[in-house]
């Protein structure tokens, strides 16, 4: 699943709260930069509605002034007026629809950018506990729902209401009693719609939930099809799929049944209203109380009146789900940024200084250790603000400039955590981490991360060319490519450094990806190299190249390495043996072997008897 399109069918809890005024207000605040467009849209809406309302009235005039008295005079003029009203109505409709979608699109463009910017600054722990799929849903379908709210929800609700009010006003103005007759069915209609709406909304939500479950099952079994085959479970999987499929189908049929009542029902009410109108209106026309044209106009208006009513109840659904989405969106926007992105309390006491200057300073004084951990305690934060199990329990060590420190230890000893903390991906609970004598919490983020180059265990590359990937690290391309051995394998390719690496570097072999990630780390000529050695096995030839490159990279450079290769461990100036969250032994390979402690045991297990 690492390449190709990934699908996300995450089930998110759909909260059904009433209207949250604060939420709505905050959403509206995103509209304020587009006041002009919004005004234009509303203007077009009002004018368009006026044009639409004019149509039936003109027909009334045609009937009363031309047809009933049998007069041809002015017929053409009135018809022309009708056409003009029509053209105006449609023109305004176009303007309004277009303006509204532009507003909606712009708002979500802005919200998306804000969300993405916020994501870049969230603590790493956020990404540890939030599955990628969920982050994706926030930025895609949730934002999409919001857009739906703005472009079809908000403005067209205003539109529907305008039309309803407009029609009601015109009708009352023409004849109050007939209006009353027309609207006689309205209370029943509203009752009917309200009653069914509840069921429909509920069935709809249940159906979507079932669909998400079905699709999640589907995706998982397509991804893991080899496992299904290896264990001959095609039948069982088929049966389980049927269960999900049937559940979804039953729910969708339930919804279909509700809609089968709903749509014809609303139409029935409209027909009944027309019949009532004809009955009462007919009697009144005969009695001479209203003109014939008025009755026809009433018929026309009644038809226009019932269409938006169907709409309004739909819109409520949109509004509901959009509010739930926006709540989730604002949750991300309100998640506190990682502390290193906040301004330093010292107010920039330590401004950015060029490297040479720092070097000169160091030469004149007694140099502090390059890396120093002082009694560092740490546990990974959990989502609910609680702390998880303690991972580091008082880690202390020092590493001097130019030295390579190799961290060894069993899985779960806390090796990678030490690297994460040096990069300040997490905040420590107790103790101090110093880089060239300065607490990492007091070094501005750009400076701190500018000093360190990180190589991850999984050699992650961004899609793009090899060159772009290495350039992301820094400007010293030539040397980095050479030392890491990238130029050697890239030279054999047609496009060389311009070769596309594919999604996550998928077009390169694992070994090549490692070499490129080395080059990226070297391209900035870092003061400190932080490296989590890959455990994945590569073939011996590549392994040899990787080792050779590593040797060159590490020699004479301050580096902290989580080491798995024997060669790396042996070449280290200092080995830090971690065990259960503590540094238990330090020294060179020979010293540690002689001590016959943890290191000796680990070594024997990993590489056989010494």
């Amino acid at each position: 699943m690492s390449n190709g399109t990934e699908f996300y069918f995450t089930e998110d809890r759909v909260e059904t709260r009433g209207m949250d005024v604060r939420l709505l207000r905050r959403l509206l605040s995103y509209l304020s930069p587009h006041k002009g467009l919004l005004a234009a849209a509303l203007g077009a809406l009002v004018l368009g509605t006026a044009c639409q309302l004019a149509g039936p009235y003109i027909i009334k005039l045609v009937i009363d002034r031309n047809i009933t008295p049998r007069v041809l005079d002015g017929l053409a003029g009135r018809v022309a007026l009708f056409l003009a009203a029509l053209a105006g109505g449609m023109g305004f409709l176009y303007l309004q629809m277009f303006a509204v979608s532009i507003i909606g699109q712009r708002v979500i463009l802005q919200i998306r950018a804000e969300m993405f910017g916020r994501l870049q600054r969230l603590p790493v722990s956020f990404f540890d506990r939030t599955p990628t799929g969920r982050v994706m849903t926030r930025l895609t379908s949730d934002v999409e729902a919001l857009q739906e709210l703005i472009s079809s929800g908000l403005v067209s609700t205003v539109g529907s209401v305008t039309i309803l009010v407009g029609i009601a006003a015109v009708l009352v103005w023409m004849d109050a009693r007939l209006t009353l007759v027309t609207f006689a069915v309205l209370p029943f209609l509203v009752l009917f719609v309200e009653l069914l709406k509840k069921f429909i909304r509920e069935a709809n939500r249940e159906m979507r939930r079932k669909l998400a479950r079905l699709n999640a099952f589907l995706q998982e079994h397509v991804t893991g099809v080899d496992v299904v085959k290896a264990f001959v479970q095609e039948e069982k999987s088929g049966r389980e799929f049927d269960v999900h499929n049937d559940a979804y189908s039953a729910e969708s049929i339930r919804l279909t049944n509700f809609y089968s009542v709903y749509f014809p029902g609303v139409e029935l009410f409209a027909s009944v209203a027309v019949a009532l109108l004809l009955w009462q209106g007919g009697i009144r026309v005969i009695a001479g109380a209203v003109t014939f044209g008025t009755l026809v106009a009433f018929l026309e208006y009644a038809q226009k009146f019932f269409a938006p009513i169907k709409d309004v109840s739909d819109k409520y659904n949109i509004l509901q789900s959009a509010l739930a989405s926006s709540e989730r969106i604002f949750q991300i926007l309100d998640t506190e940024v990682s502390p290193e992105y906040r301004p330093l309390p010292s107010g920039g006491k330590s401004p950015l200084r060029p490297v040479e200057e720092r070097g000169r300073e160091r030469a004149t004084q007694l140099p502090p250790p390059a890396i120093e951990f002082r009694d560092v305690w740490f546990s990974y934060p959990k989502g609910d603000g609680e702390q998880g199990e303690t991972v580091l329990r008082g880690v202390s060590f020092t590493l001097h400039e130019g030295e390579t420190g190799a961290i060894v230890g069993a899985t779960g000893a806390g090796k990678t955590t030490v690297l994460n903390l040096l990069c300040r991906f997490y905040e420590i609970s107790r103790g101090e981490i110093r880089l060239f004598g300065r607490d990492v919490r007091e070094i501005p983020r750009e400076e701190l991360r500018g000093m360190i180059s990180l190589v991850l265990q999984d050699p992650f590359l961004f899609s793009g060319t090899i060159r772009e990937n290495v350039e992301a690290g820094g400007a010293e391309l030539g040397r980095a490519l050479g030392v890491a051995g990238v130029s050697r394998f890239a030279a054999a390719w047609e496009s060389g450094l311009a070769t596309q690496v594919g999604e996550r570097g998928g077009r390169l072999s694992v070994g090549q990806r490692q070499l490129v990630s080395f080059a990226r780390a070297l391209a900035r000529d870092p003061e400190v190299l932080v490296l989590d050695e890959a455990t994945s096995s590569v073939d011996p030839v590549t392994e040899h190249e990787v080792q050779a490159a590593l040797g060159k990279i590490l020699s004479g450079r301050t580096s902290l390495v989580v080491a798995h290769r024997l060669s790396t461990i042996l070449s280290a100036d200092r080995i830090l043996v971690m065990h259960r969250g503590k540094v238990r032994e330090t020294g060179t390979h020979r010293e540690l072997l002689a001590a016959r402690g943890i290191y000796h045991r680990l070594y024997t297990l990993q590489f056989g008897t010494p």
Binding site: E6, L86, M90, T140, S260, P264, F292, S537
Partner: protein
């Protein structure tokens, strides 16, 4: 009836006629509502059932397609056919057919009644209809085109987000936040542009179609008014005609939409049929199933060669031959890409095996029912894939019914029981996206438990313990070997220390078995195995000096 009522208004004995007409109208409205309810319900529910059956058959078929199919078809493509295309077929069969039938009925009846009122007026009203149909169809196409472009830029934007999130540590470590934001802004702006163009098309269409429909009404108003004045048409007829015309305007617009729906549903069905037409893995055994040969080795591979489809990669295996006795423990050693995983897949017949190359207890595996072969072999793959379900369900995945006791035994053999018991619901803990997420080592141990629980006679471990520390690896091996109960084991690993337990080691180089023997024999031969081994040991020798 509207006509009757209105004509009644102008007639002398008006009241009675009006009341009669209105009563008829109400009756018809109820009848119409009833018909619509049953028609709609009947058709849509049937379509939903068809959709369900289609999806069921499609899944049952796809899950039985050969692995090579999944190799050449991206997961996204498989998913989109099983979700979007199935939905498109439902839209065609449900709302599509419903609208089509509704439109046809409305048209025939509407035109009939309109023609009865006035033929000339009907012809005038119909003048704009073809234009509307063509316009809606063109719009459907344009909408589809722009919509597809929008989908493409959405996919690009999603890829950007996904990559960013996956590589967030690097983004932070190299201070790439700004650069990433710019990249994302570009992608999302592109998506914005596509969406605006969709909106423009759709707004223009709605405006135009309204105008066209209105034009028809205008013409009718002009001509109809003139006809009434000239007393060639009653006022009731005129009003009723207008009402019928209004009834027709929606179906006319819908026709373009339906045409589009039919086109899309048709091509979706075509894509689905492509899948359904791909032959599934052959399952039928030979008429006379081969018999076990008493003295034959448990597993024998004879001169097995294999190349992946759509090659260019050459042969993955070249003339591999070896045999394993029942209960034997064999190690498989080789560099990445030497063909270890291919060999494991072929032993399970995940890819077609040429006849006469793989024998299980003397029977040609190619002639055995597929199910029998796979039930005899339990594979633990390199990539520990688990389902988002309980641990129990995962471990018992290879069994027809879950057996908690067996599952616990397997989990304990895989050295996973202590951790499982610490979890909130023990073996009933749900893992994966919706539950507890396991570490790489835990996942690997769970997959080992799954293979042990499946109970195959031949256990294949394909570098299955790479994320487990070496101490635990040793323990698991010890446990499996002592409690295997006559199972034959073939495993590959990159930790040489584990190989010393093997009865035999096979060395695979570029798809060929170049050496075979015990650890000591192979070392003394000083060949490929010795090379691999010494690479790990060189440094130690250096140290000794």
């Amino acid at each position: 009836m509207i006509r009757e009522a209105i004509d009644g208004i102008s007639a002398p004995d008006g009241r009675g006629r009006v009341v009669r007409a209105v009563s008829w109208m109400v009756l018809f409205a109820f009848l119409h509502g009833g018909f619509r309810y049953f028609g709609r319900r009947g058709m849509l529910v049937t379509a939903r059932r068809v959709e369900m059956r289609l999806r069921r058959d499609l899944f049952a078929h796809v899950i039985r397609l050969p692995l090579s199919f999944f190799g050449r078809t991206p997961t996204g493509d498989v998913m989109s056919r099983m979700t979007n295309d199935v939905s498109a077929v439902w839209l065609l069969l449900g709302p599509g057919v419903l609208t089509l039938v509704g439109t046809a009925i409305t048209y025939v009846l509407g035109l009939l009644f309109m023609a009865r009122i006035s033929v000339a007026l009907t012809l005038v009203a119909l003048a704009v209809a073809p234009v509307i149909v063509v316009a809606s169809r063109e719009y459907g196409k344009a909408f589809h085109r722009t919509h597809r472009k929008a989908q493409e830029s959405l996919a690009a934007m999603n890829a950007a987000i996904q990559e960013n999130v996956a590589g967030i540590r690097l983004v932070k470590a190299y201070g790439l936040e700004g650069q990433e934001e710019r990249r994302f802004r570009g992608a999302s702006r592109d998506y914005y542009r596509q969406n605006v163009s969709v909106a423009r098309t759709s707004a223009a269409f709605h405006g135009a179609i309204g105008l066209l429909a209105g034009l028809g009404v205008t013409l009718v108003l002009l001509l109809g008014g003139w006809l009434v004045i000239r007393e060639r048409l009653t006022l009731g007829g005129f009003v009723a005609f207008n009402a019928y015309l209004a009834m027709l305007s929606f179906p006319t617009m819908a026709l373009g939409w339906v045409i589009n729906l039919v086109q899309r549903g048709g091509s979706a069905m075509g894509r689905i049929n492509e899948f359904l037409g791909t032959p599934a893995e052959p399952r039928e055994p030979l008429l006379v199933p081969p018999r076990k040969v008493p003295d034959a080795p448990f597993l024998e591979v004879r001169n097995l060669s294999f190349a992946y489809e759509g090659g260019g990669r050459g042969e993955a295996l070249r003339g591999v031959s070896f045999s394993l006795r029942k209960g034997e423990i064999a190690g498989l050693v080789g560099q990445t890409g030497s063909g270890k995983s291919t060999l494991f897949s072929l032993l399970l017949r995940l890819y077609p095996v040429p006849p006469g190359t793989v024998f299980l207890e003397g029977r040609d595996a190619g002639g055995l029912p597929l199910e029998e072969v796979r039930r005899a072999v339990s594979l633990v793959g390199q990539d520990p894939f688990l389902f988002s379900d309980t641990i129990l369900a995962n471990v018992c995945f290879g069994r027809d019914l879950p057996d908690e006791q067996e599952a616990r035994r397997a989990v304990s053999m895989a050295r996973f029981l202590a951790e499982v018991e610490e979890m909130p619901d023990g073996v009933h803990t749900v893992i994966g996206e919706r539950g507890v997420s396991l570490s790489g080592g835990q996942k690997q141990r769970a997959t080992i438990a799954r293979a042990l629980c499946a109970g195959g006679e031949l256990l294949l471990l394909d570098d299955a313990l790479s994320a487990v520390d070496s101490e635990t690896e040793q323990e698991i091996f010890r446990e499996i070997l002592s409690a295997r109960g006559g199972k034959t084991v073939l495993f590959s690993t990159h930790r040489m220390a584990s190989l010393s337990r093997c009865d035999r080691i096979l060395v695979l180089v570029e798809g060929r078995i170049v050496e075979e023997g015990t650890h000591d024999e192979l070392l003394s031969r000083r060949g490929a195995y010795f090379d691999l081994y010494s690479r790990q040991m060189i440094a130690r020798e250096l140290e000794a000096t």
